[in-house]
């Protein structure tokens, strides 16, 4: 049997992100959950229940986030996982800046990338220190429906100072970059978080976060 690195890394997207120059030397794995979903550090709204490789949101519809603390603040982050919206209106990733305290009731100082079937788009944006939300890019030419029969989708969010990028992978398709923007100036990240509004949304391993 021959060694096939592309196949080996297919589940994490690592091969793709290295080839694209997003995941570079010096970025260390901060969360490496290949098969077992990590225990969240905090949450708000509809909680997710962890069972083996899956974090599944409850049925109640509510604006919700589930956060994972990073071991130390990082200026460059790549966060990758898989998700299935079920009937949720939106589902995605956030990267929270450490200049404010850990996430509490409202989200502030963060970048957020969202698969938004309820709005027929994928988009990303930033929350400022007051919690105001600014869209930084929207693509209505690719999204999946919010229904239980949709394929699992990979979603990656990369932030490096003002450079913000979002990546997507649908079903057994390929990873690709869907949005890139020059963003606000968040530079010190200490949490990543899942964003959903309940309704049985799932987050699925592998879940990886790299940073430097």
């Amino acid at each position: 049997m021959s060694y096939a690195p592309a196949t080996f890394h297919a589940g994490t997207g690592e091969d793709f992100f290295r080839k694209e120059g997003i995941l570079v030397d010096g970025m260390a794995p901060l969360i490496s959950a290949r098969y077992t979903f990590p225990t969240p550090d905090s949450n708000s709204g509809t909680a997710i229940t962890v069972t083996n490789s899956v974090g599944k949101a409850g049925a109640v519809q509510a604006v919700s986030w589930t956060a994972f603390d990073l071991p130390s603040a990082k200026s460059k982050i790549l966060a990758v996982t898989y998700m299935q919206p079920s009937t949720t209106g939106y589902i995605g990733w956030g990267i929270h800046d450490s200049t404010t305290a850990a996430l509490v009731a409202t989200i502030k100082d963060s970048y957020q990338g969202i698969h938004h079937p309820g709005g027929n788009n994928m988009h990303f944006g930033s929350y400022n220190a007051s919690g105001g939300f600014t869209l930084l890019g929207t693509d209505t030419t690719f999204f999946q429906e919010n229904s239980a029969d949709q394929p699992v989708m990979g979603l990656g969010l990369f932030a490096d100072g003002t450079d913000l990028k979002m990546f997507v992978k649908s079903g057994t398709g390929q990873w690709f970059q869907i949005l890139t923007a020059s963003a606000a100036t968040l530079t010190s990240f200490h949490q990543v978080y899942f964003r959903q509004n309940g309704l049985n949304a799932r987050f699925i391993c592998p879940m990886f976060v790299w940073g430097s």
Binding site: N128, T134, T138, T141, S182
Partner: protein, 55 residues
């Protein structure tokens, strides 16, 4: 893709986020909502500069 500067609209909530108002381009309204757009930086208190897909 073209680049343009637009007035901001929205109140800053998730339901009504701050975003470019494509009806306020310096040369007049675009006349359509771009299916895809991205910020290119240079945001001011009242304007956003974005790269957008033309029709």
């Amino acid at each position: 893709m073209e680049t343009g500067t637009f007035q901001k609209k929205g109140v800053g909530t998730e339901e009504d986020p701050i975003q470019p108002d494509f009806e306020t381009a310096p040369g007049g309204p675009l006349g359509y909502q771009p299916v895809r757009w991205e910020s290119v930086g240079g945001e001011t208190a009242t304007t956003m500069t974005v790269r957008y897909q033309t029709q």
